[in-house]
Amino acid sequence: MARPTSALGIDRGDVRRARTLARQVGKPIVDLAQRHTTVSVERATLRLAGLGGADPDGTPWVNRLADVVRADVGLEHGVSLPVWDALLRGEGDDLLTLAQKAAAGSVTFRVPEGKDAKRASAAARKAVGAGIKQVDRQRVARERMIAKVGDAPSKPWIYLIVATGDIHEDIPQAQAAAREGADVIAVIRSTGQSLLDFVPEGATREGFAGTYATQENFRLMRAALDETSRELGRYVRLTNYASGLCMPEIAALAGLERLDMMLNDSMYGILFRDINPIRTFVDQRFSRQVHARAGIIINTGEDNYLTTADAIEAAHTVTTSQLLNEYFAKEAGLEDWQLGLGHAFEIDPEVPDSFRLELAHAMLARELFPDAPLKWMPPTRHMTGDIFKGYLLDGFFNLVGAMTGQGILLVGMMTEAVVTPWISDRDLALQNVRYVMNAAGNLREDFHPSPDGFIASRAREVLGEAIGLLEDIKADRSVPGEPPLLSAIADGTFGLMKRPADKGRGLDGVAENAPDYYNPATEILDGDQR
């Protein structure tokens, strides 16, 4: 029976059922994540303790140190006990000296026991705690700055991308985009960074179709946008990508340098980058815990499903992924306001009723996640060189955004798939958004789809299919002893890719925790949630 509280005639029981299934599917993955660590989680821990910089070849000191520790005692105890034990034994005055000596081969690490272990864990907790305090200070700094200069004036937040490859070129472009109306600036990463098992160092001026995510680039861009925020009287948010093999480290750097939003999806790396599933889930949980603490809004990547599969046939995979992303996010301590769950306007415009279908899918997301900001992504697949048609399509995309109260709207460019946006493309795109928001921003008040009409029926159908898919995943036992979600990913349930748990990039950087595993960052961050 339809209840009056649902504009789409969705049964509350179905919504509860969907969430219960997401929890049942997700819980064994969380257990798995808690039983493992990765090289990147350990390096992120060292970064939180203040170890930065790189050797003359550009290999970060966190990599050099973690590699030596691992070679000496393995990864399964975590690096914290061996590292702080070595510091307490006087092997180095600080982390940097220790890393340099370790790289030169003049330190041997051990796993301390008894009293030594206690002392090492206390010292590690103190050092890592200082980094987490810095993350806390940045969160307070953001809140203060928003209180002082003001927030983005209205929703949705206008999200624009810069991507020149050169941070010093990105900065004026980002500042110009903010002056033109962007509330959120995203710096696209260099192609391929997600597959690097280290975070490059310093200010970078060469990238491929994007700019490397580095701590220094984060710092430079945030400082520039702070200046522009004060100038404009509204806080301009900065976005980057916590994804790929270094997800936890980039999350830590984002927290330390006060980034405001991070792309962070639970399965994107597995499906689209062939990163090992266990590596991804372990890294993801840690990175989300850091994001939760830092007050960072995550953006999930469901739009990607629709760029590979048909946007109508695969609509329910978006809903399913949103439910899983929500479960994993909340388990890691993120709150509703931090969940920029993704979805996209990617239905073929030649399909009859394509706009009504888009509206149905977007309304479903809005209704399932009423308190999440939602990230609405523009058409890309059906954008051609016909910029005039593309401009119209972007207008309809904006209209769905206005009618469904999206929190974050990535501005579509009519020159998508033609050129990287010109100054005029960006201005025209923003005019398009402003016109639609001004003309139809309040249409939501009047627009109530008929409960037995096309839109409401389609929304219920998609939810039903999502529940069906979650049930199938829950029942998947094709790899005995493995969490059903891992089996489902191995079968190719999502996207079209089969990604078995014992394959993929970064698997050699995963270890099952020993009984004496210790990680002060996880301890502090887990403590937040208990």
Binding site: A176, R179, E180, S190, T191, G192, L195, F208, L271, F272, R273, D274, N304, T308, T380, R381, M383, A417, W422, I423, S424, D427, L428, G495, L496, M497
Partner: protein, 247 residues
């Protein structure tokens, strides 16, 4: 074929539209400058129908006008692609039809080049330029060896996987290392395989010249901006069609 000129709403009116941005504050002078540019491009009369300030120190213009140029289609030269562009569906169907098994592609970056950008753009499902990578093709079995693969490793992997095609990417190179590496690679394959059994050798990267295939001993060179669909189409065409004489 006869000479033609652009068509607005009357035969022979020569009307075109144009939009551009000039780095100048909006003013009467700016509009005059826009008209001047249009005149220099051969538009006369040129009508600046829209001028709008964009950001600080920039103005966007839309200009309509008449051009007096004529074009002669009979003198147009086009370089025809020597293989048809296939959609993933068509490529899959072609493989199924003619091979009755999956087509095996082995790829990697050889030499010291650690930049997998190129090979990943072509092979990863994520793809490039709005096209999905070769992993997306159901009938292609893709083995991506990643970066810093030695030539012997590549040959070994090609044998082990029974590769039909080998893709090599070279992005960052110094002193023509990409050319040396490619020659070393093609020589190694010629040595390891009888001529008729050798897999198709394809190299790509921004520094390559597409006309150098013969000189480098490979079947095809792809340059900057090549999309996964083009690579897939080429491979499928060459492997599923009877061999043509090298041009």
């Amino acid at each position: 074929m006869s000479l033609i000129r652009p068509y607005g709403d009357t035969t022979g009116d020569g009307m075109v539209q144009l939009s551009f941005t000039l780095p100048i504050e909006h003013s009467k002078v700016a509009e005059g400058a826009a008209a001047q540019l249009a005149n220099k491009m051969g538009m006369d009369p040129a009508l600046v129908v829209h001028a709008k300030p964009m950001g600080e120190g920039f103005t966007f213009f839309v200009v309509y006008g008449r051009v007096n140029h004529l074009v002669d289609p009979s003198t147009v030269e086009v370089v025809e692609r020597d293989y048809p562009l296939l959609t993933p569906k068509e490529a899959n169907a072609a493989i199924k039809r003619s091979m009755r098994r999956r087509l095996v592609v082995v790829g990697g970056c050889i030499g010291t080049d650690a930049h997998t950008v190129g090979i990943d753009a072509i092979l990863n499902i994520k793809g490039f330029a709005g096209e999905k990578g070769l992993e997306y093709y159901r009938e292609l079995k893709v083995v991506n060896l990643g970066a810093q693969v030695s030539v012997p490793q590549l040959v070994e992997a090609a044998r082990e996987e029974k590769a039909d095609a080998v893709l090599v990417s070279q992005v960052v190179t110094q002193r023509d290392a990409h050319l040396l590496n490619t020659r070393e690679m093609s020589a190694a394959f010629r040595e390891a395989y009888p001529a008729a059994k050798r897999p198709l050798l394809v190299v790509g990267g921004p520094r390559f010249d597409e006309t150098m295939a013969g000189e480098l001993g490979v079947d095809r060179v792809f340059s900057r901006g090549t999309t996964p669909g083009e690579v897939a189409s080429y491979i499928v065409h060459r492997i599923t069609q009877p061999k043509e004489k090298a041009s």
